[in-house]
């Protein structure tokens, strides 16, 4: 086979329906691991945990992309091939459909009775009956053409349902548009997360985010300018017997400042009710507690007086956090548990039994030594590096209590707690395109599935000579009506019946 012949063969294989089918199956199959294994894009913490739990299997699965299925080369290969196959399949159909739309229906077949035709007789001249039939068909939006057989029979050939193929093409091209929308979002969109305590503010610059990710062509320097303060945060939990502890209400009252606008505006942001600021949207995605602590050093000097963000670990908001005190000498560090409604069991240790702050306490482990902040390696605010530290002891505190650290290292006091809310701020310039394309896809799909392509024919024979007694009457003609539907499982019986009834009605 020549090279060109081979390429043509390859192209024909790729754009064949069978290949499309196989690629669709492949797409379904390769998506499955993405639902089973935790994914980096949605749950990076679970991924790390999974790899830590399975030290031999984890890295192998990681190397073949099972923790990032939808960004893996093999996943991309499947859907890119599918889209090439799709384009190769539908682009040639555009031309075919374009000329089909402008062509006339083909002539009526010789023998309509073979197609299960209806035949009957009406009074009238064949030309007049054909004209009637054509008028009826045109009224019902059929495309018609008239002609005559060698034996003198006249016919109308009619076709309908071109929108089926139009809808089919619109659907497939809309899928390409959706992919473009997704790509635009991926390249130009960005998304960041930030935790804000009650009373605290945020201004939309890169440095203020806890985490920020943007597409290759997004600009981190030109984020829309705005700032807000989290004035208050309201939470309510189910206290009834059923689904006890389930969240019932989150709402954040936010005061927003925009450049070029006089004064601030106050907004209530809830789940399902994001705040829209220019091209960005601010979503309320989570919340938690920040115990307020005062730490004094060995001389009784206050070295920390702040609310520290703790991260919830379960539905009852058993929360963990770390307190770093670099300004004391030696440096102090604490690992802590915050329990909104405290309980201790042998099995679970200290934990929370209800998400609301009904019975607050913190459990603290204290270390002294070197926090390792000067090593140049950046540290997470949620982990404590105790390599160069020695443990001082463990203690639990309720609000208002304080703990004198062993060896005169200082003291720590729990003065109360604040709430914090976490926000996702995102911009996706491709989403409108994806939405419009999705609506087009559904419209096209519905047309292509609900509209049937049908052909019907009406054939009128020459005038039948009646007996001598009816010489003065108008002649009678034999009329045949038949029809077919292009798709298997469908027919044109209803349409044929309708035309027969109308023709008979007019003849009477």
């Amino acid at each position: 086979m020549s090279q060109r012949g081979f390429l043509r063969w390859l192209w024909r294989q790729l754009t064949s329906m069978k290949t499309a089918l196989i690629l669709l199956f492949l797409l379904a199959i390769v998506s499955i691991p993405g639902s089973y294994f935790p994914q980096r894009g949605t749950n990076p913490i679970l991924v790390d945990q999974w790899i830590a739990d399975y030290p031999t299997l984890g890295p192998i699965l990681d190397s073949i992309g099972l923790f990032d299925v939808f960004g893996s080369p093999w996943y991309s290969a499947v859907y890119i091939l599918l889209f090439i196959s799709l384009i190769g399949c539908v682009v040639p159909r555009l031309g075919v459909h374009w000329s089909a739309m402008r062509s006339q229906p083909p002539p009526a077949p010789k023998n309509l009775s073979r197609l299960g035709g209806n035949s009957f007789e009406v009074e009238g001249e064949s030309e007049a009956v054909i004209a009637d039939a054509r008028a009826i068909l045109k009224k019902q939006h059929w495309r018609t053409v008239v002609g005559q057989d060698p034996d003198g029979s006249r016919w109308v050939s009619a076709e309908k349902g071109y929108l089926r193929e139009t809808g089919n093409l619109v659907f497939h091209f809309s899928l390409i548009l959706i992919l473009v929308g997704v790509a635009v979002g991926g390249l130009f969109g960005w998304r960041g997360n930030v935790i804000v305590r009650e009373g605290e503010g945020f201004s939309n610059t890169l440095t203020q985010y806890d985490a920020w990710g943007g597409g290759r062509l997004s600009s981190a320097e030109n984020l829309p300018e705005f700032s807000f303060t989290l004035e208050s945060f309201n939470v309510e939990f189910e206290r009834g017997n059923s689904q006890e502890g389930a969240p019932r209400l989150f709402e954040a009252t936010m005061v927003v400042d925009r450049p070029g606008e006089e004064g601030s505006t106050t907004h209530l942001v809830e789940v399902n009710e994001p705040l829209v600021i220019d091209s960005a949207k601010v979503f309320l995605v989570g919340h938690g507690y920040a115990p307020h602590l005062i730490v004094r050093d060995s001389k009784g000097q206050v070295v920390l007086d702040d609310a520290v963000v703790f991260l919830p670990q379960d539905g009852n908001f058993t929360s963990t956090g770390v307190i770093k005190v670099p300004d004391s000498d030696p440096q102090l560090g604490f690992r802590g548990l915050f329990l909104p409604t405290s309980a201790i069991t042998e099995e679970l240790g200290p934990h929370s039994i209800f998400p609301a702050p009904d019975d607050v306490s913190v459990f603290l482990g204290a270390w002294s030594g070197n926090l390792g902040l000067d090593s140049g390696i950046s540290q997470s605010v949620y982990t404590l590096n105790v390599d160069d530290m020695t443990q001082l002891g463990l203690e639990s505190l309720r609000v208002g209590q304080s703990w004198q650290l062993p060896e005169g290292a200082g003291s720590i006091e729990l003065t109360g707690f604040e709430r914090w809310a976490s926000f996702q701020i995102a911009s996706d310039p491709g989403k409108e395109l994806a939405l419009v394309a999705s609506i087009l896809a559904i419209a096209g799909l519905s047309l292509s599935l609900f509209i049937q392509r049908r052909r019907v024919w009406v054939k009128v024979g020459p005038v039948i000579e009646q007996g001598s007694s009816s010489r003065d009457k108008v002649g009678r003609v034999k009329v045949e009506v038949a029809g077919i539907a292009k798709a298997s499982g469908h027919d044109a019986i209803e349409q044929v019946d309708n035309i027969v009834e109308t023709l008979k009605g007019q003849g009477a």
Partner: protein
């Protein structure tokens, strides 16, 4: 509600669901009796009342209705089955509505409520379709999965009514879940006809409509549900964009909705591919329905998903 306190409402809802299950069980028995009786029939009954032969003389002659001339032992039982199915559907509808009144919201807040609504969805799709054509032979194969769904709902999945978690408080809940319930109901009916097309003509199943007819029916019901499912997915994406800040995030629920969509897309392509139109297409339709079930039960119960708040 001053005439009925909430406990009474809850009991009333549950009683209607139980009553509907009992009636549906009786319907299943009636359909089984009809099915067992049908085995004795020699040839399948072809009902084709649509085609009217017209003699050249102009007088219309209807094809003789086979059922009238031949004594059909299972017909009465099947008719009873259909009537009982209508009754059970009415009871279930009242049960679902009372549940909504009790909760003071749409009754789609947890898996129990989704399940009784899905059972209602299956029955409604079946009954509405049965007004278009004779579907008595299909009754047995629709009432059994519906009964299983209801049984699972009242035993394993039962939850006392409660308010919605904040993420569910949106009118998109109504739009998205309604489309998913109707689409899923139709997929279930389609899986029944697809499954029957694979065994039609063998042994007991000789009485069913012929294979090609069943394949055509499967195609019709899936052609109906596929755009609805597409709409459910798109509506879910719009809602997700509003609630979570992204319209598509490959959450397990989204992934399986996508897998289901892709498999049914494959089904529709198979129906117009030479060599794939028949048995293979029917198998694909069943696989698609299995993916739908995985999404509904598997993801809600076994996988950690953003949709897992749908309480159990």
């Amino acid at each position: 509600m001053d005439f009925m306190n909430s406990v009474q409402l809850a009991d009333a809802s549950n009683n209607f669901v139980y009553a509907s299950m009992v009636i549906l069980f009786l319907a299943t028995i009636s359909f089984s009796v009809s099915f067992a009786a049908g085995r004795r029939r020699v040839s399948p009954v072809e009902v084709s009342s649509r085609r009217v032969l017209v003699e050249p003389s102009g007088s219309q002659v209807h094809e003789p209705d086979v059922a009238l001339t031949q004594l059909d032992p299972g017909r009465r039982a099947a008719n009873i089955g259909m009537s009982l199915t209508w009754l059970a559907t009415g009871m279930l509808l009242i049960g679902v509505v009372l549940r909504g009144v009790w909760a003071g919201r749409v009754p789609w807040g947890n898996m129990y409520e989704f399940s009784i609504s899905s059972a209602l969805g299956i029955l409604v799709v079946f009954l509405v379709w049965s007004t278009q054509r004779d579907l008595r032979w299909l009754g047995l194969f629709v009432t059994i999965p519906t009964l299983l769904t209801l049984g699972m709902a009242v035993t394993v999945l039962y939850t006392e009514s409660a308010q919605l978690v904040p993420a569910l408080k949106s009118y998109w809940l109504v739009i998205h879940v309604f489309a998913a319930i109707i689409g899923g109901g139709a997929f279930t009916v389609g899986a029944a006809t697809a499954g029957l097309s694979l065994i039609s003509g063998k042994g007991w199943f000789k009485q069913l409509p012929p294979r090609e007819k069943l394949e055509g029916l499967t195609h019709k019901v899936i052609a109906f549900s596929f755009p609805i499912w597409t709409f459910a997915v798109v509506a879910g994406a719009i809602w997700a964009e509003n609630a979570w800040g992204r319209y598509w995030g490959w959450d397990p629920k989204e992934t399986w909705a996508f897998i289901t969509w892709v498999i049914f897309a494959a089904y529709l392509h198979a129906r117009s591919t030479a060599g794939w139109k028949h048995q293979k297409a029917s198998v694909i339709a069943i696989v698609g329905w299995v993916a739908f079930l995985v999404n509904y039960f598997g993801v809600n119960i076994f996988i950690n998903s953003l949709h897992s708040y749908a309480g159990m």
